[in-house]
């Protein structure tokens, strides 16, 4: 079974530029999460989707971050404009809704550096 795919793996941009990340969850996983992991810290939720609907975006900085999940499968996360403090690894995770456990499977992440 293929895991969660993310691209690009690395991105370097200058502040005030825009950037987009892509995630393809495990096939059949209806729940998709985007987490932000700042160096030396644990991942922190940005947004959660159930199919193509948003479940929780309370911690998403909506003035600069946006996300969508078209057709309930792939998802994109966008930052516009980027700030220095957005430098982090952006992790996508997915979960099979039918699981009795809250098992979330993570992709390799996209490491963003904002100069």
């Amino acid at each position: 079974e293929a895991g969660v795919a993310q691209s690009p793996r690395y991105k370097i941009i200058e502040k005030r530029q825009s950037v987009a990340f892509w995630c393809n969850p495990i096939s059949g996983h209806a729940t998709l999460y985007w987490y932000q992991q700042i160096l030396g810290q644990g991942p922190k939720l940005l947004i959660q989707f159930q199919n193509n609907g948003v479940v929780d975006d309370s911690q998403l900085p909506k003035d600069r971050f946006s996300a969508e999940r078209l057709k309930g499968v792939d998802s994109t996360l966008k930052i516009q404009p980027a700030k220095l403090e957005d430098s982090a690894v952006y992790l996508c995770a997915s979960r099979w809704t039918g699981s009795s456990y809250n098992e979330q499977f993570f992709g390799p992440g996209t490491r963003l550096t904002v100069l």
Binding site: V4, T31, Y33, G40, Q41, G42, P43, K44, L45, Q48, Q50, V55, D56, L91, A93, R95, T97, Y101, N102, E103, Q104, F105, F106, G107, P108, G109
Partner: protein, 112 residues
């Protein structure tokens, strides 16, 4: 505010030793407690998880101990190996797909 507090921040043990990582939580609504292992450049990988209806769970060399009254849980790695050197994160959540609340992580180094 940090909902899950993890300690120590870093840990060095010799091969064969038993590193222990501790976590504490406040929210009594949490009922799912996983541990994730993360290698440099990789995403976190689920290692083992427990629910509060049991006090201990063992999978291979990894054991979770859970103390519901103290709102604490810990990870023990038996017969640790250099290949176990990684960052370990505890997490907690409510059930049914809620987002995971992670600790800050413990960097483990197992020396030969």
């Amino acid at each position: 505010q940090q909902q899950v507090k993890q300690s120590p921040q870093s840990l060095i043990v010799q091969k064969g030793g038993i590193p222990i990582i501790n976590c504490a939580y406040e929210n009594t609504a949490f009922d799912y407690f996983p541990w994730y292992q993360q290698f440099p450049g990789k995403g976190p990988a689920l290692l083992i998880a427990i629910r509060p209806d049991v006090s201990e769970k063992k999978e291979g060399r990894f054991t979770i101990s859970f103390n519901k009254s103290a709102k604490q849980f810990s990870l023990h790695i038996m017969d640790s190996q250099p290949g176990d050197s990684a960052t370990y994160f505890c997490a907690a959540s409510g059930d049914s797909g809620y987002a995971l609340n992670f600790g800050k992580g413990t960097s483990l180094l197992v020396t030969p």
